[in-house]
Symmetry: none
Subunit: 209 residues, 4 copies
DNA sequence: AATGAATGAGCGTTCATTCAT
DNA sequence: AATGAATGAACGCTCATTCAT
């Protein structure tokens, strides 16, 4: 039965995404892709004319799920640390779930960091995409802090942008440490780490009120 | 004689280190190593019986230079933010320089992150080494904060361990972003980023005194 | 309807001819054919059931244009060297032009020799076609020499068949050298070479009158 | 047993030469080379770092045998048509034999023409080598005609250079026809063709004395 | 201690061809 | 008549590793 309407394309993308995140881009061979898709080499090449093109497509595919879900005016939703935590963790949870759906049952091994670094090395264009993603995440945090400020939940004179930047870096650092330390990354570990980091940040922030 | 043998070993290690940091472990071939050392394939195999063994050796070799130089009692040296910044940056600077010396004239392309991630994927043992290195860095920061606390430079009731952890994560996050954004990593970029991050951290810490 | 079908067939033939002459048979892929015709793989296979069948068809198609245009009784038209040259060059010119028309605007890259050799290797039947073509060219020359003989333009006792064979070989040799030496074969180069070769031949022939 | 002193290299060259002449450059795969040499793919790549480098090396290897054997002053040896024929055929014979020796027992399938054309297409440098080879052959013929002229064996006023050029083209043409017509090229066929062509040429030359 | 010849598995990619639609 | 999805063999080439010298 000849597939239509991009179904095969999506099968390849999902398989490639899982494999790339598990083993890294370089380490994934067409043999692996064949094994996981059940398709022939030729079929894969029919849809993506090179491994690099596949990488770029997978990347864009991934970005759809990594995208900060469109949170409408976080500055209105965040009133205190509790609502901040709630919103942030819910948002991340949604990300993971939309990502999980993409995986279509594959194991969620999630070595995002290695994959991103390799992707950047391979194709300049992907660097820009990642940079934009990171900027969006920072902006999201900034808006949250704006909400907090309005409710006097952060020290007077604090700059939401600065706080956002700081927390963002901490979150990134924490995530990175996870990649170094964990072997079988699970969503729960990430969520726990995010939560701890946010709490740590607020502890510091409020220590001297 | 023995001396000479050790010398060859070191030649290989230095070449491998440069190449691993530049291209990543997987991407480096024996061909590359031959090109940079001027030695034969057999000679390299004579000193390291596999690529993985070479990786481990290079890693240990690298760790010597990455090692937090033995700073004697940082808690005695740090009195205020200025002396904190000074000590931290000087320490990092020394690290870079000892590393530069190892490179023996090679270009300092420094994709540490990719290399670390690949190394961890390749060999479990290396994960432990990295984890220890990170712990040492955190401890160093903690001792610095202890010095600050003694001089009442941080809010009363603040936990030096907590502050250390937070700053450490921010520094890691900042370093990571650098790898994503920079192309030609230079020592200067790292130093500048470290400095900015520290200053940001203190701005937040002192905002509400 | 039927017309249209024949038209597609001709589109494919023309594209294949150009490509075969430019890159050689083996080097031309269906991808190339798709690129030049704008048709799909399936469409080409619909008209020619294999690459070899396409080759044979292209070959026959080419032969129509390579065919010695039906020169009526060249022995009546050739009276001296001047009329010989004129007739021969005009005939060749017509060949080129009919061929150019076939190309439908494509660049006239004309590596006939490579194409012929590959074609022969691929399909025994084509060898016969080429052999017949060469025989026809020789016969044409022979008839010309008969005309010359009638007007006593060649040494008494000379055999027109022998002269034809000799000149034919020279022309073939000259053409071959062109393929070795030229990069971008142009009709002008061929015409010039033919002319020079004929003149050389007559110089030798008449040296001792 | 590890081979030394280029023996393996020579094995590869001889095998490649036979295969290239038999099937043409493009058509020969590393699988073919492995089959004929008994070596592994890696071994061949150890000696020639690409197929193109192998082509160039084979070409130079071939040229040693194709080289017009150093005939000392042919103009002194050639006195009449008989001695001309003798010298020319002996020289060709020597070429074939030195070439046969290179083949080391392989079948003498000799599709020189296809191989040359492909080689030229592949690598510009080889074109120059061929051109020089052809020039040398022409010069050899010219010197022979000089000898004939000295003994008044050619029409007064005839230019040895012109005669050489003409005969050379005829020989090339004759050789080319052979490639089109023959399937299993044998030395004998070539020798016979050369001889016939020379005789034809002289018949024409002397027809009108 | 050091060389470099040899191995063979595996890589990404291209190819002519088939066939359901 | 025409499309394009799918196949799988074959391609040139690189790789880490072994080993006789």
């Amino acid at each position: 039965m000849r597939e239509k309407s991009g179904a095969t394309r999506r099968v390849i993308l999902a398989a490639a995404l899982q494999l790339f995140l598990k083993k890294g881009y370089k380490e994934v061979s067409y043999q692996d892709l064949i094994g996981r898709t059940g398709l022939s080499k030729g079929a894969i090449y029919h849809h993506f004319k090179s491994k690099e093109e596949l990488l770029v497509s997978v990347f864009e595919f991934l970005m759809q799920s990594m995208q900060q879900p469109e949170v409408v005016q976080p500055e209105l939703k965040v009133k205190d640390m509790a609502s901040f935590r709630k919103l942030f963790l819910e948002t991340k949870q949604k990300q993971f779930e939309s990502f999980k759906k993409m995986q279509a049952g594959g194991t969620l091994k999630f070595n995002k960091l290695l994959f991103f670094l390799e992707a950047i090395n391979e194709n300049e264009k992907l660097k820009k995409i990642i940079t934009e993603l990171l900027a969006k995440e920072t902006l999201f945090l900034e808006n949250c802090f704006r909400g907090l400020k309005k409710h006097n939940q952060i020290p007077r004179g604090s700059d939401p942008a600065l706080l956002a930047k700081a927390l963002f870096l901490m979150l990134q650092g924490a995530e990175m440490i996870l990649f170094f330390v964990q072997n079988n990354e699970q969503m729960e570990n990430f969520m726990k780490t995010y939560d701890e980091t946010i709490q740590r940040f607020f502890t510091i922030l409020q220590k001297n009120d």
